[in-house]
Each structure stands twice: as structure tokens, then as C-alpha cells.
């Protein structure tokens, strides 16, 4: 009896509020992470020496240091040099950087798999480099990078929970507050876990469908 009241009156409303914040974090970070990934990959592949160096430093830094530390730098560190973000904004920025850095590696790998001859052929037809990258190389590369990118989306769902560590009350944060207040750790975190499992499983099914739809015809999929 008590259990049911706890579930319907306290736990579920709290988790619902948290879930909305989690979805906001993910849906804001994913598109920009994709754009950053494409930008960094193109920069590293076709940019000048300075662009190439900066993109490389960004990728190495973000991949080398824990995301949680990156969030601390954005939220607790930057105010000391006069840049102040809200916790939510700092989280979204952190997720964009992390997602973008990993995406760029997949897209760059896929761009390398598009044969050099296509670039030369495109230029021979009078395209500029930028046009060739935009209309010839990227459409093929992004499709080939899709399995990697969808992995990163699934990671994004999971690491969005780290926003709680810089005070954003998203799904895990909402769970932690309820669990601490009512001393129901196992039940609450299992419930939180079920929501994440649901999100991850749903996304996996969705990206599998997208991958199938956008697979390059005639290419054998791994």
C-alpha cells in the first residue's frame, strides 16, 4: 500500500521532471555535437596547418580527460577567468564538446575511406575543394560513419547523467534526491535504471532503422 503511494505520488512525478531535463540536455547536445563533429573532421582533413593543429588539440584534450572533469572546468573553472555559465548551459557545452570530439573521429575515419580519386575527379569537373567536400565526400562519409555516430548518441544518453554532478537535477539527480529523502536507494535507482534502459533500447532500435535506411546500397554492412 505504502509502496504504491510512494511510487505514484513521489517517485514517478520526480522522475518525470528529471526525464524532461535529461531529454532537453540530449536533444540540445546531439545536433550541435554532430555539427561540431563534421566541422572538426573537415578541419583536420582539409584545413590549413593552424586549423588542423587546433582541431587535433581539441580532440586529444576532450578524449584524454574525463568528461566529468571537463564539466568541472566549464562550470567551476571558467568563472575564475570571468566566463559564467548556468549549470545547464555548462552541461550542454560539455556534452557538445565530448560528443563532437568522438563524432569527428568516426567521420574522419569515414572520410579517409572515400577514395582520393573522387576529390581529384570533382576538382577536374570544376568544383572548388569546399564544394567537393560538401557534395561528394561528406554525403558518403557520414553514411559510412553512421554506426559509430549512433554509438555516440547512446553514450550521450548515459553520460547526460553526469550533469547532476554540477547541480543539474536531471533524471539521476531527481532519483538521488528522492532516494536520500525517503531512504529508498535500491528501489529508486532501479527505477531510474529502467528509464535509462528504456531510452537506450529505444534509441538502439531507432538508430538500427536509420542505419538500414541510409546504408550505402551495395556495400556490405558489418
Amino acid at each position: 500500500m505504502d509502496q504504491i503511494a510512494f511510487l505514484t505520488d513521489i517517485l514517478l512525478p520526480a522522475l518525470q521532471k528529471g526525464l524532461i531535463i535529461t531529454l532537453q540536455l540530449i536533444l540540445l547536445a546531439a545536433p550541435f555535437g554532430f555539427v561540431l563533429g563534421v566541422g572538426v573532421a573537415v578541419g583536420r582533413q582539409y584545413g590549413g596547418p593552424v586549423t588542423r593543429f587546433l582541431c587535433k588539440v581539441l580532440v586529444y584534450f576532450v578524449k584524454g580527460c574525463p568528461l566529468l572533469l571537463l564539466l568541472f572546468i566549464l562550470y567551476f573553472g571558467l568563472p575564475s577567468i570571468g566566463i559564467v555559465f548556468s549549470a545547464f548551459t555548462a552541461s550542454v557545452f560539455g556534452f557538445i564538446l565530448c560528443n563532437g570530439a568522438y563524432n569527428s573521429e568516426y567521420i574522419r575515419g569515414a572520410m579517409l575511406s572515400v577514395k582520393d580519386g573522387q576529390m581529384i575527379a570533382a576538382q577536374a569537373l570544376g568544383m572548388t575543394r569546399l564544394q567537393a567536400v560538401r557534395t561528394i565526400v561528406l554525403p558518403q562519409a557520414i553514411r559510412r560513419a553512421l554506426p559509430g555516430l549512433s554509438n555516440e548518441w547512446i553514450y550521450l544518453i548515459k553520460y547526460s547523467s553526469l550533469a547532476y554532478m554540477i547541480t543539474v537535477i536531471e533524471l539521476s539527480g531527481a532519483g538521488k534526491l528522492v532516494a536520500t529523502k525517503y531512504f529508498t536507494y535500491t528501489e529508486t535507482f532501479m527505477a531510474v535504471g529502467v528509464v535509462y534502459l528504456f531510452l537506450v533500447t529505444l534509441t538502439t532500435l531507432a538508430v538500427n532503422a536509420i542505419e538500414k535506411k541510409y546504408a550505402v546500397p551495395g556495400m556490405i554492412r558489418g
Binding site: 578524449k63 580527460c65 571558467l78 532501479m190
Partner: protein
Amino acid sequence: MELISILLDWFPYLLRGIGVTFGLVLSSLGLGVIIGLPMALGQVYGSRLVRVPIGIYVWFFRGLPILVLLFLFYFGIFPGLGFDLSAFVVGAVVLGLRGAAYQSQIFRGAIQSVGEGQMVAAQSLGMDRLCAVRSIILPQSMRIALPGWSNEYPNILTDSAVCYAIGVAELLTRASQIVAQTYVTMPIYLAAAGIFILMNYGGMKVLHMIERKIAIPGFGSGAM
């Protein structure tokens, strides 16, 4: 000048976090092999009764954020079962259980990449299944698995920082403590980031060296 003396004063405290972080990573990698390898074998050679529970385990541990797993086990499951474990032990065990889920899939792929004909051939020579797995399949598949397995190192290293949430005194926790004590933020965080990055790429260098050493001759190294 004051900043430099603060940094020098606190640097040893920060450096001691390297050992803790490393302990988390190593126990997680170790548990990952000890639990993950039998799980991979079970998934490839086991009956349905073995495969389904392993599948659920992998789905559960790969689907939950590490933060939620840490909270669940540290505050919920372990105390509920009557275990009074230190934060470090819980962190290491949870990272290990989760690592096992990821690593079992790497091992599974490697085992399946060894041609089925070899199993048939071994059995036709009079070996039983266990003997064939131990002396024919595993020696090959472990070498194939190595590049994928060493890619787990940076993942676990960066994930280990989340143990901050349950108060394990690893690098990030120590950095935050120093920040709270001294009000020096950026230099401390950047120093911690530098240490993580060094551990990350340094560790990868070592692992790549090992990979080259035990790569299957003629198979190319790390090209899988």
C-alpha cells in the same frame, strides 16, 4: 608567486590520486577479464539457459550510466545485502562488473572470428570441446581480441573519475578538494586534466607495444 607555492604544496596530494585511479582501472580491467571471458565463452558455446541470463546481464550493465550504477550499488544493493564496503572497493567492483559486460562482447567477437572448422577439426582429432577451446580457440582469439580490449583502457580510465560521486579519493576528487581548500580553480583542474591525459596516452603507448609483441605473425598488427 603565491600561486606557485600553493601548487607546489598540494601537488604531492594530487599525485597520490594517480595510484588510486590506477588501482580502479587495473581492478576493473582484471575483473573484466575474469568475469567477461567466461561470459563470452558461455554466450558462444553455452545452451539457451546460459546465453539468456548473460544477455540480460550485458544489456543491463551496458544500458545504465556509470553514475546510476555507482549510486545503486554503493547506497542500495551492497548495504542492503549487509556488505559494509569502502567506496574504493565499490567503485572497483562496479567498474569491473560493467567492464565485464563490455569486454565479454569484445571476447565474443574474437572467439567467433576463429573459423568454426577449427573446432570441428580439433574434435575430429579426438579433443573434447573444452580442450579444443582451451588449446585451439582461445590462444588465437585472445590475440585477436587484444586491440579491442586495449581500447577499453581509455574508456575505463575516464569513467573511473565518476567514482568522485561516491567519494573515492582518486584524482578528480583530490583536485576538487584542493580547489575547495585553496580557491585556486583553473590551474588545479588543468593539472588534473594533464595527469589524466598523460595516463591515457602513456597507457595506450604501452598497450600498443604489447599488441605488436604478441600479434599473430603475418596478420598485421592492430589492423583488426
